[in-house]
Symmetry: C2
Subunit: 149 residues, 2 copies
């Protein structure tokens, strides 16, 4: 027996549409700034930042994956590219030969730092200029509810 699906409310549908479009718009604007400045994409930045925050600049791929929500196979290949650029290196995980540790290099830290000057300015321009801190707090709270179990 097939239950008829109750229609989502107009308010919810509108919010969902806006979420997708807002994300696309702001990511697009910020990526454009990074590209104009000759930097790699936000994905690279995300990985660099997570690593920098990790203990001794190291995390396992799984930990990065969970933090940035990339697919395992995409992260694996992104790390290939980043390693080739000398931004990270792979080191063995003590006591478990399946795992590995990804370590950010000095060059990686330097890139993260240089990217932040552009990225931070873009955030100012495209987000801070549009929302007060109070509104940003409200937005955070709502988005948190959205992803919680």
């Amino acid at each position: 027996m097939q239950e008829p699906v109750p229609e989502p409310s107009a308010a919810v549908i509108r919010a969902w549409g806006r979420l997708i479009r807002a994300e696309r718009t702001v990511v697009g604007r910020i990526e454009a700034e990074l590209k104009r400045a000759g930097f790699p994409s936000l994905h690279w930045y995300d990985v660099l930042l997570e690593l920098k925050r990790g203990p001794e600049g190291r995390l396992t791929p799984r930990e990065i994956e969970e933090a940035v929500l990339f697919e395992q196979y995409n992260l694996s290949r992104l790390l290939d590219r980043m390693e080739k650029e000398g931004l990270v290196c792979r080191i063995p995980f003590p006591g478990d030969k399946r795992r590995q540790l990804i370590e950010i290099t000095e060059e990686g830290k330097a890139l993260q730092w240089r990217m932040w000057s552009v990225y931070g300015a873009a955030i100012n321009r495209f987000i801070s200029a549009k929302l007060t801190d109070k509104e940003a707090g409200q937005l955070s709270a709502l988005l948190l509810k959205l992803v919680q179990e």
Copy 2:
């Protein structure tokens, strides 16, 4: 003279991170439902829905592009694929040989309809269950501010 960039506030940075992650999470969940049901991706749905809403089920590629925020070249090729599946067809634009009209077919309308039963249910599960209508309204308002000039 290089002005030092004022750091974005913690509240803004947090909201931005949550926006990206919430979008990734919810899109991921919804896409998984669609895939499980054997349907194409949300991008296809977005185009079908826009067309269905357009006058006589027709829009120019530019109009679709503006509505869904895809890149011109990506949309061009997405329409190729959709046309190949018989979901849309390209017809000449009267009075301007550069443009064209994309028209949704009956088959396209039918697919949109069938996808909605899964998509709507997923929205219920992943959004309505997490936010009240009032909260959805607040979220909409904040996201709108974010993208406005």
